[in-house]
Amino acid sequence: MKKDKVTTPPEQGAKINWSEIRQRVEKARESLERGEAPSPKEKGAILKARARVLAREAEEAGAAREVLDIIEFSLAAETYGIESAFVREVYPLKDFTSLPGTPHFVLGIVNVRGQILSVIDLKKFFNLPEKGLGQLNKVIIIRNDRMEFGILADAVLDARPIPLETIQSAPPTVTGIGAEYLKGVTGGGMIILDAEKILGDEKIIVSEELT
């Protein structure tokens, strides 16, 4: 019995194909080295795929009669869109300072390249229920001729044009947001915010009155 126990492991060891393992490791190492500089064939394939994608989008854009450029962003598990005409830039949220005596939807102030801007949390502004924790590490700076401030976003997803006819007026029960702030809802469930209305809202200005 003991003898069997002693002799069995080498037999099992013999079943391991070490040469194959060595080949596999070598292959992985080679592919890793090559990965830093893809082979010409791979490069060609990537480029071809990309060209195909671009060609299709151009076709689509050509087909659209009237479009609306929007910035698509996510906030509290919902996807929102805002008209890019009102967007100055997107900026990572860092070094913000909370400001006492401000309404609760005002998160604080940030320094963007020397300019002090206030940051508003839309969820709180719209009195939406808190659904989990978001990243809230992006700031979308919107402006018009009167107002300029940042709104918090979990992630900035895309900047693209969407056909107008896909935007439908949404029933107020769907979003929970007052209909005066909405432009509509797309078939994909994206809520299009009315940046002008938000910029022109008195509530935000009120806070200026306090100042």
């Binding site: 003991k2 830039e89 900047a159 693209r160």
Partner: protein, 683 residues
């Protein structure tokens, strides 16, 4: 006595052949010699007559001899007949009847001699007894007839020569003599008696004379020769028979002397008797006395013999009555009488008397023996006194004897019970011996089995030893293998440790990859934002910004792809980290397993070492077992021999015990007999 065979030869030669040869020789020498002398012839014939008659008489008186002599009747008759006729022949002048008488004598003699072949069974019969007499009378009648009626006789002699009939009768007679001679020769050969040979010789002579008759003539030499020969034969026979008779007479004398001595002995015996002995005739006269009788009566022997027996007793009537009683009854015992001595003194006697008889069984008289009892009477008185004393003594002794007997009885009882016990013990011992013999034979068998078992165990032990040595070899090999295994195990452990370290390093490198990925993600994020801003700017620029918008879109896409790639890398890195942890754990387990293996192999090594030691001990033990088994076998053989001796001794013991048992049985029976005997004696 001569040897029978040579005797036969002698008689044949002398009696038969010699006369014939002699006759022929003389006839050749002196053919015409003649001696005409009648008186001489008559003398010879007369002598033959007397010799023959005398011989016949002797033979007839001798007929009571012990041996078979029935044929003597024939011989006697022949001699008588032949003698008488020869006598007549001698008495007359030569002539026809002269030859006739001689011829008839030869014929009758030959015939009667040859009749000896016929045995006469009944010697006592009157006819046989009278045969010689009858022959004598017949011969005399024939002789007288021949003398008186000589003219009527046939012609036997013609002109000095014998007729044919004369020759025939003589030859016939001679032949019959030869036949008789053969009879005597046969008897002589069986008995060896000389007289038989003499008879044979006689017959041969007469036979040859008869056969020679035709060849001779009257008064010739051969004629005289056979006359002379016959006479010689007569006298030889006569002389022999006479000698026999003389011996008989001597023997008779000797017997008479012996008889006289015997009678004297008897007389002396009678005289020597101390008791008065007397013989009495039937008429009561004393016929004989001994000396003691003379002394008791005081009368001399001469006076006593012939006197009356009863006169010498005090009671004559009673004495007479006594001997008469003896004659009547044949015997009388202890008849009391009193003898009176001449001087008047009396003697008390007891008479024992019996009759005595002669050869024919007639009573001759009484033989009486008296016993003097005077002394006895005196002794009786003394005896009486003695007896009284003796009775007293016997009483005393009886009392003592009773005591002794009691003791003897006790002793005998003890002896009987002891002998019973001995018998029982002996029987037990005998049966025990038999059992012992059985046990010994069983033990012998068992010893043989044990011996075989010992041999078997020796072989087994040898096998064990071999096996153990093989095991020792194997265990050495095993120990070596285990040591090698342990070394390999240690090597494996080292390898495992290096593997673990490698994996740990790999894991740490994975962490640094993670850091790189975080920074790449951050960069991708920022690139995305930059792309969005660029898009915004492009949109603001309007138609001029369209190309820029495409670039911005492209950057954004790249940033997105970078982010996705980092996510993938992170995910892969996670997998790698998990795999690494698993590898570390597996290595740890492997390490533990190797440790256990090392420990196990150490234990196995120890176990094998112990096994090797045990095997060594087993080898030692097996060798010892082999040695002791061989000793055992030798011992068993010795035990077998010893058992054989014991068996023999047991058999001898059993035999002894059987003898002892028989002895004990005898002893026991003896004890019982003794007991019974002692019990019979009750005083």
């Amino acid at each position: 006595m001569k040897e029978p065979k040579s005797g036969v030869l002698w008689s044949v030669l002398l009696g038969g052949l010699l006369p014939v040869i002699l006759a022929f020789i003389l006839k050749l020498l002196m053919p015409d010699w003649k001696l005409l002398n009648e008186p001489f012839h008559s003398v010879i014939e007369a002598l033959g007559l007397f010799a023959g008659l005398f011989l016949a008489a002797l033979l007839m008186f001798n007929e009571e001899r012990e041996k078979d002599t029935s044929h003597y009747i024939w011989i006697s008759s022949a001699l008588i007949g032949m003698g008488i006729l020869d006598g007549f022949h001698a008495a007359i002048r030569p002539g026809n009847n002269f030859v006739w008488l001689h011829s008839t004598a030869v014929l009758i003699g030959g015939f009667l001699f040859s009749m000896a072949w016929m045995p006469l069974r009944d010697m006592q019969s009157q006819t046989v007894r009278r045969l010689p007499g009858f022959v004598a009378v017949a011969s005399i009648i024939l002789g007288v007839f021949s003398l008186v009626f000589s003219e009527a006789l046939p012609m036997f002699l013609v002109e000095g020569n014998f007729t044919l009939i004369a020759s025939a009768i003589n030859v016939l007679g001679g032949g019959l003599f030869i036949v008789a001679a053969i009879f005597f020769l046969v008897r002589y050969r069986t008995s060896g008696e000389a007289e038989e040979n003499l008879f044979a010789f006689f017959c041969f002579l007469n036979g040859s004379a008869g056969l020679l008759f035709p060849f001779g003539h009257t008064w010739g030499f051969e004629w005289w020769l056979w006359h002379l020969l016959r006479l010689i034969a007569y006298f030889i026979l006569l002389g022999y028979i006479f000698g026999v008779f003389r011996n008989l007479t001597k023997r008779t004398k000797k017997t008479a002397e012996e008889l006289r001595v015997a009678a004297l002995y008897t007389r002396n015996l009678i005289e020597a008797s101390l008791d008065p002995l007397v013989t009495i005739s039937p008429d009561g006269k004393i016929t004989d006395v001994n000396k003691t009788t003379e002394q008791v009566t005081g009368v001399s022997r001469e006076r006593l013999v012939g006197s009356v027996f009863s006169d010498y007793f005090t009671e004559p009537d009673k004495a007479r009555e006594g001997y008469q009683q003896v004659f009547a009854q044949g015997v009388v015992k202890d008849y009391p009488l009193t003898i009176r001595h001449a001087s008047g003194r009396t003697t008390d006697v007891l008479y024992n008397a019996s009759v005595y008889k002669n050869e024919t069984g007639d009573v001759q008289g009484v033989f009486a023996a008296a016993r003097d009892i005077t002394e006895r009477k005196r002794l009786d008185d003394e005896l009486k006194t003695y007896r009284e004393q003796l009775e007293e003594m016997v009483k005393k002794r009886t009392a003592e004897l009773a005591n002794v007997l009691k003791e003897v009885k006790d002793t005998v009882n003890v002896l009987a019970s002891s002998s019973s016990e001995i018998l029982a013990a002996t029987t037990q011992v005998a049966s025990g011996t038999a059992e012992t013999a059985t046990a010994i034979s069983e033990t012998t068998t068992t010893v043989e089995e044990v011996r075989q078992a010992a041999q078997l165990s020796s072989q087994k032990a040898n096998n064990v030893s071999d096996s153990a040595q093989r095991v020792a070899h194997v265990s050495q090999t095993g120990q070596k293998a285990v040591e090698e295994t342990a070394a390999v195990m240690r090597h494996i452990r080292d390898q495992m440790e290096s593997i673990a370290q490698t994996i740990v390093r790999l894991s740490e490198q994975g962490q640094s990859i993670g850091g790189i990925i975080a920074s790449v993600t951050d960069i991708a994020d920022q690139s995305n934002l930059l792309a969005v801003n660029a898009a915004i700017e492009a949109a603001r620029a309007g138609e001029q910004g369209k190309g820029f918008a495409v670039v911005a879109q492209e950057i954004k896409s790249l940033a997105e792809q970078s982010k996705q790639a980092t996510t993938q890398v992170r995910s892969i890195l996670n997998d790698v980290q998990k795999a690494t942890s698993a590898a570390v754990m597996a290595t740890e387990q492997g390490n533990k397993a190797v440790d256990a293996g090392v420990k196990q192999s150490a234990q196995a090594g120890e176990a094998i070492r112990v096994l090797a030691e045990s095997t060594g001990e087993a080898v030692q033990t097996a060798v010892q077992i082999v040695a002791s088994s061989q000793q055992q076998v030798v011992g068993m053989d010795q035990i077998g021999t010893a058992m054989e001796n014991i068996n023999q001794a047991g058999a001898e013991t059993a035999a002894s015990m059987r003898q002892a048992e028989v002895s004990a049985q005898n002893l026991h029976e003896l004890g019982q007999k003794l007991k019974k005997l002692v019990e019979q004696y009750k005083i």
